[in-house]
């Protein structure tokens, strides 16, 4: 496989929310890169910073959120340094965001085709698109997401949920960007439609040979789509690696516990959640953010924050167990299910 060129590189990105009680560090030093045509998934639960990260990458953060440091290199451009005009040109043409609940953000009083055309026309001058080509491009955008061209003259309320989501995807990708950031694109959809929309995203990606950053909380969904997965916890990337490796042999304790907590259809097993709560991003304790809930934690974990380091050729993890170990030791015994009965065993840390 010929090495694809790098289209996105995020280096030590930090984002914080300015609040009267102090800064909330939503993203703390995240670094990764995407090659052309690569599918990467970012898994995180609420409070992990995944939506903030996605929005930051396209520079659509609104105050009180702000990027405090780091670099984003978008297809060679220093994305954090470019001026307003170049920024607007780069958006949509180079990188597009499919935001959460995109299907609810369609303009209810505009036809679908017009909404797609909106974005195209806004870029017409800079992208040197003659106006007469707009209709053709609208048709192509719809075709790319598997929607029939007659839907261009319909209003959002006349479309089903899945169609609306795909329409939102068509609007975002009308200018055939090289990078697509999709933030929970199927969160409000039923499972059958979800599959269809994800398959559409896949075909869209292949057609454009675009790199896709899929952000979500559903490990199964992300695993079905992405080739590489990054796991976010408390604003940090704690593990990264190819999907198969990550699922078969996760290297970070959080990933391991997360996968264990997933119900499966294979056999009924005792349900194991992760005790405790994610930490408050306002007053992060020193050391590893996962230490309070980690079954493997030892003294060093509470003092020193581990850096993301390679564990195997392709897998990286931010954990002090490495490089001393090569993989996760077996889980220590837990006074487990039914954990609901014994309050002492459950460390419920209030935020």
């Amino acid at each position: 496989m010929s090495p694809d060129r790098e289209v996105l590189r995020v280096e030590d990105l930090r984002v914080e929310y300015v609040t009267p009680d102090g800064p909330i560090k939503a993203v703390e030093g995240v670094s990764f890169s995407l090659q052309a045509g690569q599918r990467m998934g970012l898994i995180g639960e609420s409070g992990s910073g995944k939506t903030t990260l996605g929005t930051a990458i396209v520079r659509l953060l609104r105050p009180p959120a702000r990027i405090t440091s780091g670099r984003i290199v978008l297809d060679g451009h220093e994305f954090l340094q470019v001026g307003e005009r170049e920024l607007r040109q780069l958006r949509m043409r180079e990188v597009a965001l499919i935001p959460q609940a995109a299907m609810n953000s369609l303009n209810p009083v505009m036809r679908i085709g017009d909404q797609i055309a909106d974005g195209i026309i806004a870029h017409a001058q800079s992208a040197k698109i003659p106006r007469r080509d707009v209709a053709e491009r609208v048709a192509r955008a719809l075709w790319q997401v598997g929607l029939q061209s007659y839907l261009a003259s319909r209003y959002p309320h006349q479309l089903s949920g899945g169609q609306r989501q795909r329409a939102a995807m068509a609007i975002a990708t009308a200018l055939q960007p090289k990078i697509i950031v999709a933030d929970e694109p199927t969160s409000a959809l039923d499972v059958v439609v979800q599959r269809q929309v994800m398959q559409t995203l896949g075909r869209l990606q292949q057609g454009l040979h675009a790199a896709v950053l899929l952000i979500g909380h559903d490990m199964g969904l992300v695993a079905q789509f992405a080739d590489t997965i990054g796991v976010l916890y408390a604003g940090r990337l704690v593990e990264q690696g190819p999907v198969e490796d990550l699922l078969d042999a996760p290297r970070h304790p959080y990933t391991r516990l997360l996968i264990d907590s997933l119900p499966t259809l294979d056999a009924k097993k005792a349900l194991r959640g992760i005790p405790g709560l994610p930490p408050s991003l306002l007053n992060l304790p020193p050391g590893c953010p996962f230490a309070p809930r980690c079954p493997y934690a030892f003294d060093r974990c509470r003092v020193e924050t581990p850096a993301l380091q390679p564990v195997t050729t392709l897998q990286k993890a931010a954990c002090h167990l490495y490089p001393a170990h090569t993989s996760l030791p077996p889980l220590p015994e837990r006074a487990d299910i039914p954990e609901v009965v014994a309050p002492a065993a459950d460390a419920e840390v209030a935020v």
Partner: protein, 300 residues
């Protein structure tokens, strides 16, 4: 995800100066709200305590030298009937406020009862109240009030308040009704039902407390509208004839050609006072609106 507030972080509510700072820094406090409260408070203070410091006799016809511009002796001058303007202003402002208050309270009370009933019970009751409110909303209220006021023999402050209240209840009814409709569908109302709460219990314990910001905003709006209507009626001579109000002062000023005569100290002060009251009430209302509607709170 929980919000990082001092209470959330420490689990205890602050008190003392910390509490005051907390309240002032709270997202509920906006510039409008603080300014509005300050202005209205000033007027209320003046109305409550002002009359004690002035000699009411100076407001009677012929008590002082007429048509004097402001001077050290008569700070706001005197009118052509020989009344001290400062005294008139200090005595008249509370009366105007009283009218506004009576109309506001009556209008709001009626609106609250009708709005709650209409929104909560729905069906035929809702249809009747809604049709009634909607039709009266379209009626030119000032015209009706003129008719009512003109037919009243002896107009007092209380009657004035009631006249205005008659056409002040529709807006609060609609506002409260729509809020009740939306709250009614919330999960926590179903939870209350599952908890064994009776329907009246749900109305008073679950729905009403969440209406407080809307009730407050409606009240301020009603008072504001009432004062406007009252001033309008008074300015054309239909006001109370036994007391001074800001509007009646304007009437007399116009009647005695104060504008033509250049006696700005007669028509000026009431206008300034009315404007001040309105701006204060408006800012207060805008501030309360921001509390009621959280979407307005974000500054982006």
């Amino acid at each position: 995800m929980s919000v990082a507030t001092p209470t959330a972080v420490t689990g205890r509510r602050p008190f003392g100066t910390a509490a005051l700072r907390g309240i002032l820094r709270s997202p509920r406090m906006s510039g409008s709200l603080v300014a509005g409260i300050a202005m209205v408070a000033l007027v209320v203070m003046l109305s409550l305590f002002g009359p004690r410091f002035v000699n009411a006799r100076l407001a009677a016809v012929g008590s002082v030298r007429p048509s004097q511009p402001p001077s050290a002796q008569y700070l706001l001058g005197t009118d052509s009937q020989g009344r001290d303007m400062l005294t008139i202003m200090v005595l008249g402002t509370p009366q105007t406020l009283r009218i506004g208050l009576i109309a506001g309270v009556v209008g709001l009370a009626v609106g609250l009862v009708l709005g709650l009933t209409s929104g909560f019970f729905g069906g035929a009751v809702d249809a009747v109240i809604r049709v009634l409110a909607d039709s009266l909303l379209t009626v030119p209220s000032l015209a009706i009030m003129v008719v009512i006021a003109a037919s009243v023999g002896h107009m007092t402050v209380e009657l004035m308040g009631l006249t205005v209240a008659a056409l002040a209840w529709m807006h609060p009814t609609r506002t409260i009704r729509s809020q009740v409709l939306s709250i009614r569908e919330r999960s926590y109302v179903s939870v209350a039902r599952a908890n064994g709460e009776s329907e009246p219990g749900i109305l008073f314990r679950e729905i009403m407390p969440n209406l407080v910001p809307y009730i407050a905003a409606s009240f301020v709006g009603a008072v504001s509208g009432a004062i406007l209507a009252a001033v309008g009626l008074e300015a054309i001579g239909l006001g109370p004839n036994d007391v001074h109000t800001l509007g009646t002062t304007i009437y007399w000023a116009e009647r005695f050609s104060a504008v033509l005569r250049g006696q700005w100290w007669w028509w000026g002060p009431p206008i300034v006072a009315i404007s001040f009251i309105f701006v204060g009430l408006f800012l207060l209302s805008a501030g309360l609106d921001r509390i009621a509607n959280p979407k307005l709170r974000q500054r982006t």
